[in-house]
Symmetry: C2
Subunit: 193 residues, 2 copies
Amino acid sequence: MKDLVFDFISKYISLTEDERNAILSTDLFQSVKKGTVLLREGQKSKESYFVLKGCIRVYYIKDGEEKTTAFCTEMDAFTPHCVINKTPSEYFISCVEDTTLTVSNSEMEAEINSKFPKFEIMCRMLSEELLAKQRIDFDEFKTSSPEQRYLNLLQKRPDLIQRVPQHQLASYLGIKPQSLSRLRSRILEKSKE
Amino acid sequence: MKDLVFDFISKYISLTEDERNAILSTDLFQSVKKGTVLLREGQKSKESYFVLKGCIRVYYIKDGEEKTTAFCTEMDAFTPHCVINKTPSEYFISCVEDTTLTVSNSEMEAEINSKFPKFEIMCRMLSEELLAKQRIDFDEFKTSSPEQRYLNLLQKRPDLIQRVPQHQLASYLGIKPQSLSRLRSRILEKSKE
DNA sequence: TAAAATCGTTCACTTAAGTGAAGAAATGAT
DNA sequence: ATCATTTCTTCACTTAAGTGAACGATTTTA
């Protein structure tokens, strides 16, 4: 399982024995049960996540309703806004499934980065990449209809539709659960013809 | 005008005389006329932008229609996806107004970063910050209606509504120009009551 | 300055999403 | 195993966005 982290890192930089050990000595790995809440609204956290197995979900509670805005699955990294901004969190993060992930705190990261400048480079590359990728996702969202977004998701992350409850998917697609249900049956009708 | 860049940088790191000169020697600054296209679909570019004055616009052309997805104004940085990914660009970037900006290419950035590790740190901080901020914007977009998005924009970037054509704003809000027009008159009616 | 092109608004109509309610199905708890 | 809760779907109705067209108003360009 720990190899997955090193596989991931190797996409950006190559590590010496020392550097590998520095990471392993930090006791990053956690296994959490389905339903566990990792971060709550209002909380001040310094923790970043990297999902090895399972699925975590980012959601707001507005007018008593859950609004899901992100799912992180295998090999997804997530640093909450509150960590960067040092403000109370605007949202919750919880586990959709039993999940294995790394949890790193920002002070520890800063320490490793200053000890091994290579990590600084990796973090820069990774966040630049994620920024650009997220912008494309945002662009696709803006320029397509709910139905197109659903079909797009079916292409790009077919697993999500299986492993995640419909009503959570709905707000992820920017619509209500009833609309997702209707939209799905509309698509089904079309494909029959 | 060049001071603006150093004001911006000073939010992240402090510079020595040497470092300032390294930047100034790179001949980064450009003034471009309204309507100039900085990047075209299909093009392979290595250029990143930082707007000092004016406004640039990111847009796709799908089915012969322009779909605007971003506006960068004073103090906004933008690195196109194609620069990070080394693929042909999916979108166009052009100037909404006469614009003064810095244009830096990724090779030059890499050189400066390796010469002055401080810059590497700044780039990491900046892209982490933009990533987190953009995620919040995306979340807001997903969880609100076109009307709420418009009112939100009116709060956060009131200048945009003045300086940008309505039909470009419309796709930025994820709707058609006619819908934006209708939505605006609906809001006007409400405020009269 | 005159003609042409672009832009913003309005209208009538169509399509799809929001809402509230109801019921079936699946899930979780005791 | 049963009861309770949650989840998903369906329905009728409301609201708002998409579409195509028309018409000034503005801007561009020749």
